[in-house]
Amino acid sequence: MKNMNRKKVLIVDDDIDSLNQLSMYMQKMGFEVVSADSEKEGEQLINQHKPDLAIFDLMMDNKDSGFILSYKFKKKYPDVPVIIATAVSSETGILFELNSEEEKKWIKADLYLEKSIRYDQLKEHIQKLLNL
């Protein structure tokens, strides 16, 4: 995937293992990876880098850290796609209260992904998201 070279991805996840694995996959896909392991550090990186894609873990310092980061990120870079990765499956509905339209409007992610997603599926999603 040579055409993906030099594209930059920002990954924020407080689970070191999940951050390592995701970084490894993204590098394999040809991305340059910028990463942080807390909401606070992630916020600093948002101000320093304009990536081509951002992936945020949902529960970090706060239960909704991922939402907060994606809100701030979209405010700065409205055109850059954001993926929220979570360990808790969304269909169980037990984590987020994404019930009202109001909340959906506020939460500005382009895609939700299960953390247990396979590498090839992740790649497919990302290619679609970036029109590659």
């Binding site: 689970d15 293992d17 999940s18 694995q21 394999k28 037990i94 953390k115 396979r118």
Partner: protein, 375 residues
């Protein structure tokens, strides 16, 4: 001052205005309520008119005559019952028969006031229904809060249980796909990380079991005369391997060589293990942990003091919540479940009527003091 809306339903104008007048300057105060209650009256001459008010105003209390020109009081009551409206009804009637009483009570009337009544009779009936209303609403609110807390607990728990599984699964897939080649040595770090996640998940499960045992009260407790000094010494022995990794010294000091308390030995072990392991984990290399047990006339005091990284006042305020772990640059590499201190607090508060206190200074260390009354 809380204002309760009282709907007076009676076809006699004199009764309605009489009741309004009595309620106008009447207030009720309970020692357990935050503020006193006052009343705002709304009058309705018929059942039909009453239904309008019930639908459109948030009526708290209804004084309801049964004998009305159109629909009867009991039918108004049925309407409230069917629509599950949060309002409390008192029947006022001169035709109080046993029959009516049964029918009204079945439909949720709180009580009866026979006509004619004196102002004082009305006031004491209002006081009674207000107390009932207040307690019912507080109970509902508490139940709702409990449900929410439980729900939050479960969502965080499922996150905490799934994260290590995802991490381990991720590493296994990387290995399965030979992502970094065929040399097993190149996967060494992933194997170590997987084992570490399994180890911390095991701790989480055992903490969780402790917590559920306490919460369900299902655990068989064995209350005996136990020697806290002995238990502390055992707990310290357990911790020595962990402490020596960072060259941390643990000191035990007690006012007597043996200090007895009526307690469950395994619960005291949980308490001491948690406090000591925190004092080690959040310490600095070459630091110290001082554990002291004092036998006082009314209580036993356990104190665990460390020379570690300490906490801010804000951190302390969050410390005993379930799954809360203080996160900052210094605690980043420290593993834990975030359940230890909430378990300790639950045990000490609920089983021993005791208290846990914390004082701390950033970069100097923290002190945890547990006071357990002797019965």
């Amino acid at each position: 001052m809380t204002t309760l809306k009282v709907l007076i339903v009676d076809d006699e104008p004199g009764i309605r205005s009489g009741i309004s007048r009595i309620l106008q300057n009447y207030t009720v105060d309970f020692p357990f309520a935050e503020e006193p209650f006052q009343y705002e009256s709304i009058e309705a001459a018929t059942g039909e008119e009453a239904l309008q008010y019930i639908d459109n105003e948030n009526i708290d209390i209804i004084l309801l005559d049964n004998k009305l020109p159109g629909i009867q009081g009991v039918e108004v009551l049925q309407y409230i019952n069917e629509k599950n409206i949060d309002t409390y009804v008192m029947m006022i009637t001169s035709y109080a028969s046993l029959d009516l009483a049964i029918k009204a009570t079945k439909n949720g009337a709180y009580n009866f006031v026979p006509k004619p009544f004196t102002p004082n009779e009305l006031k004491s009936a209002i006081e009674g229904i207000t107390k009932y209303l207040y307690l019912r609403r507080m109970t509902n609110k508490l139940n709702e809060e409990n449900r929410k807390t439980r729900f939050q607990f479960l969502s965080v728990l499922s996150h905490e249980l799934k994260s290590p599984l995802n991490a381990i699964e991720g590493y296994l897939r990387i290995m399965q796909d030979r992502q970094v080649g065929n040399n097993l040595d190149d996967y060494e770090n992933m194997i170590l990380r997987s084992l570490e996640r399994i180890r911390s998940m095991r701790t989480l499960i055992s903490d969780l079991l402790d917590l559920t045992k306490i919460e369900s009260g299902g655990k068989k407790r064995q209350i005996n005369k136990v020697d806290l000094v002995h238990i502390a010494q055992l707990a310290i022995d357990n911790m020595l391997p962990l402490a020596s990794q960072q060259n941390i010294k643990i000191y035990l000091d007690s006012s007597k060589t043996e200090i007895y308390l009526n307690a469950d030995a395994s619960e005291m072990e949980i308490v001491l293990n948690n406090l000591l392991s925190n004092a080690i984990k959040y310490n600095k290399p070459n630091g110290s942990v001082y554990c002291s047990i004092k036998d006082e006339p009314q209580q036993v005091v356990i104190e665990v003091k460390d020379t570690g990284i300490g906490m801010s006042a804000e951190d302390i305020s969050k410390l005993f919540q379930e799954f809360v772990r203080i996160r900052n640059e210094k605690t980043k590499s420290i593993t834990g479940t975030g359940l230890g201190l909430s378990i300790v607090k639950k045990l000490i508060n609920e089983y021993y009527n005791g208290q846990i206190k914390v004082s701390s200074e950033v970069d100097k260390g923290s002190t945890f003091i547990i006071e357990i009354p002797k019965n």
